[in-house]
């Protein structure tokens, strides 16, 4: 059960971030869209974009799976193990989104993943 939940969390987090990144690169928001008076319109617009709706769906799955994981495992296990998504997402950003991940960026992503794991201990 524990490892099943970890798999669901990492998988759904990765899918949510990939979908968000893919869709926001196709049609990005402008800095002015962050003004409080425009939130409602921006959120309405985002809600009509299929990949973003799917991304929110996967974020919700990740959230509920994390709650379930916390009920069967320690927090000191749950948080660091989900940091694996940073390394996996970097791999998929290279393969799926065709980002240019240099050696320095690989080193940075791995360093952050190790750091998050240590921080949660």
């Amino acid at each position: 059960m524990k490892w099943l939940m970890v798999g669901i969390i990492v998988g759904s987090t990765v899918l949510a971030d990939l979908l968000q990144s893919f869709e926001m690169k196709r049609h990005s928001l402008a800095a002015e869209d962050l003004r409080p008076g425009r939130w409602a319109g921006v959120l309405r617009g985002l809600a009509q974009r299929g990949p973003l709706v799917l991304a929110v769906f996967f974020m919700a799955i990740s959230f509920f799976a994390f709650m379930k994981l916390l009920s069967v495992a320690d927090l000191s296990f749950a948080v660091p193990v989900t940091a694996a998504s940073v390394a996996l997402e970097t791999v998929l950003a290279r393969v799926v989104l065709r980002e240019n991940v240099t050696a320095l960026r690989w080193a940075g992503a791995l360093s952050v993943a190790c750091g998050v794991a240590l921080l949660a201990m």
């Binding site: 926001m24 049609h27 962050l34 425009r38 974009r49 791995l110 952050v112 998050v116 201990m121």
Partner: protein, 152 residues
Amino acid sequence: MAAGRAAVDLPITNPPSTARRIDLKIKLLTAFVVCTNVLGNFSMSWGMKHQAVDLGLSPFAYIRLIFTPWVLLGTALLILWLLSRMTLLGWADLSYVLPVTSIGYVMSAILGKVFFGEQVTWQRWLGTAFIVAGIVFVGLTAANTTRPETAQ
């Protein structure tokens, strides 16, 4: 909303001054994303710790809690975080955004120690050093490697 600004409509290259301005905008937005996330989580946590509400299984208790000042502020900040992070993902690579915004973990640990008296062990300080090193590495790379810059 600027929907419809497709990548194909943008110029292929930017002059150096424009590139610097875009780079600055991305860094400022990154700082904004981190701050809204950290302050949103802190505000939610503060509100939850200072409420004498017995949550139990009743959904009404959760609804009442959402409308308390600190939790409401936290919710507004997290909505702003969601929107600004989505904007940032349109401007910069996912493999850039993920490590760089991880500084939020460090800031949350510091706020937890200062305001909630949480203990910060040597493993946590070591983890902080790893994260900061990772952010420095990734911060030295170009923010957007997939197409012409859009943060204009």
